[in-house]
């Protein structure tokens, strides 16, 4: 599936919830699906520091596609990361660089991306794109 198809799928899933508690419950459930980063990469080099919670992110390229693994000490952050990975993992570097992650606003999580939230999500997206750029540069 393309990035936009996956985003549409997520938007449809979240449209089922009108209560914030249910939305968060779903994010907590999703946190369990997160492809967890290998313990050996769970170190300073792969750490994205937020003020309140921490995120570790690793990426590798297989057959021209980028695959991400990650972890966080906060559960809801983990749930949101698992959505980001679902959208971007398995895509080409170019598609990752080009994508506009409109699903975040559509499912009501935009405030989590404000710099003042300091939960590392904004830096996480930036870091995912930096990985994509690095892999794209290697290809040439």
């Amino acid at each position: 599936m393309s990035i936009n198809e996956i985003q549409d799928e997520i938007i449809e899933e979240f449209s089922l919830f009108d209560d914030w508690m249910d939305k968060y419950q779903y994010l907590i459930d999703l946190s369990k699906n997160l492809p967890i980063i290998d313990e050996k990469y769970k170190q300073e080099n792969y750490l994205i520091k937020g003020c309140q919670s921490q995120v570790w992110l690793f990426a590798e390229e297989k057959d021209g596609k980028v695959f991400f693994t990650a972890d966080s000490d906060a559960i809801i952050t983990k749930g949101i990361i698992s959505l980001l990975i679902r959208v971007m993992s398995g895509q080409t570097p170019q598609d990752i660089l080009d994508c506009d992650l409109h699903f975040i606003e559509a499912i009501g999580l935009k405030e989590n991306l404000s710099p003042t939230r300091s939960n590392g999500l904004l830096s996480m997206i930036k870091q995912m794109k930096i990985y994509a750029l690095a892999f794209k540069t290697q290809e040439k």
């Binding site: 914030w20 508690m21 968060y24 419950q25 907590i28 003020c51 309140q52 919670s53 921490q54 000490d73 906060a74 559960i75 809801i76 952050t77 989590n112 939960n119």
Partner: protein, 405 residues
């Protein structure tokens, strides 16, 4: 009678909704909301009387100056200081603490000297002393505390040596809510002829303060935590100490005469108030303190201790909740954890239900290291909080706790 419902009407923000829920404001240890009287004082000052204070010959300047100096007298009354010359306006408790650390360090700290603080200080009463001790090659020593969050007074006694020059201790912990036995700590410091400063950032709004009875040497607090605006704070110090300390900053108003070569300094308190101060903030602080005196700090204390007891009980009833800090005497704040949840998870969900709590390290990272937690969730109360708000928050926390099982 303490009529909390009618008191709430004095605070316009408490009638607002957040994320479609009525606001439940449990972040009072970070800052308090402002009563209409304080808001009006600020608007009135800028609308009708604004003019720079001191030395102004014209009417508005004299009104401004009178308001500013009246506020100083109100602070004097509020903490029962012997003289208004001992009340210095600062921009907040952080500046008050830094002022004393810097100037005392400059005048009295030498290589090998020692300063005592507790291991539960807010960063604002830790970092200034780290800086000053490094500069003067002095050593910082720490009063330890136990798992309950209680300072070890015996260990404190043993920290004193002939090299001990100063003690600076927090009155009430912003993170643990512990009320420290400051009278005992002050008496012990004085038995060694060592001056002591009390960080009253979390006590000025919760309990009566009488600096003469306490007999501490310095007492510092912020306006914004006691229902006044941000950007104004107080340092009270005994005159004998303030006279001995060198000026903190140079500028206007703190001088007596200036030539290009040499300046003589103004008398107290102006020696420590360089430049144009936050005179509107000081005036509004005076209004806030009078508002509190009107309600009666003892009445506020009684109401808030009922809130603390009730909230503690309601949180203890939730099996997944662990309270961090169980000192026998607590005020203002309760820190807690929910099993399986990061504090940020909890804060995020509660926010969506209109409940404002603080999550994180609360500017006390050494306390987090002591308990081995990444942070805590903290509920902190003010004079306008109600039992019903606690019931609502406890219900939501109990529901959220099951989500992380």
């Amino acid at each position: 009678m303490y009529d909390v419902q009618s008191i709430r009407n004095d605070f316009p923000i408490l009638g607002s909704t957040v994320n479609n829920h009525p606001l439940v404001y449990f972040d009072n240890a970070a800052t308090t909301q402002k009563p209409q009287a304080v808001i009006d004082a600020i608007v009135e000052a800028y609308s009708r009387t604004n003019s720079n204070i001191h030395r102004g010959i014209h009417t508005l300047s004299q009104i401004s100056t009178t308001q500013y100096e009246q506020a100083r007298k109100t602070v004097q009354t509020f903490i029962n200081a012997p003289s208004d010359r001992e009340i210095i306006f600062t921009k907040g408790v952080t500046e008050s603490l830094n002022l004393v650390a810097q100037t005392f360090g400059e005048a009295f700290l030498h290589e090998g000297d020692e300063v005592i603080v507790s291991a539960m200080e807010h960063h604002s009463n830790l970092v200034p002393w780290q800086i000053v001790c490094a500069r003067h090659k002095a050593t910082l020593r720490f009063i330890p505390f136990n798992k309950a969050g209680v300072l070890d007074v015996e260990a404190y006694k043993n920290l004193f040596t002939e090299k001990t020059k100063f003690v600076s201790v927090v009155h009430i912990s912003n993170t643990l809510g512990t009320v420290n036995p400051i009278q005992t700590l002050i008496d012990i410091a004085h038995s060694h002829n060592v001056p002591i400063m009390i960080d009253g950032a979390q006590s000025i709004q919760h309990c009566p303060i009488d600096v003469q009875k306490l007999d501490c040497d310095f007492f510092a607090f912020s306006g914004h935590k006691v229902y006044a605006p941000t950007g104004i704070g107080v340092l009270w110090g005994k005159e004998k100490w303030l006279e001995k300390l060198p000026p903190y900053q140079g500028g206007g108003d703190m001088i007596e005469t200036v030539t290009l070569e040499k300046t003589t300094y103004n008398t107290l308190p102006f020696k420590f108030e360089a430049g144009t101060t936050n005179y509107v903030g000081a005036h509004a602080l005076g209004v806030a303190l009078r508002y509190i005196m009107n309600l009666g700090i003892e009445n506020i204390q009684r109401h808030e201790s009922e809130l603390m007891a009730y909230a503690t009980q309601k949180l203890q009833e939730i099996p997944q909740v662990t309270i961090i800090g169980n000192a026998p005497e607590k005020a203002g704040a309760i820190s807690f954890e929910v099993a399986g949840a990061h504090p940020a998870d909890l804060g995020m969900i509660l926010d969506k239900q209109g409940i404002a709590i603080r999550t994180g390290t609360h500017c006390t990272e050494p306390i987090m290291q002591f308990y081995g937690v990444p942070g805590t969730a903290r509920m902190s109360f003010g004079l306008y909080n109600t039992m019903e708000e606690i019931d609502y928050a406890a219900r939501i926390i109990a529901r959220v706790a099951t989500m992380f099982e």
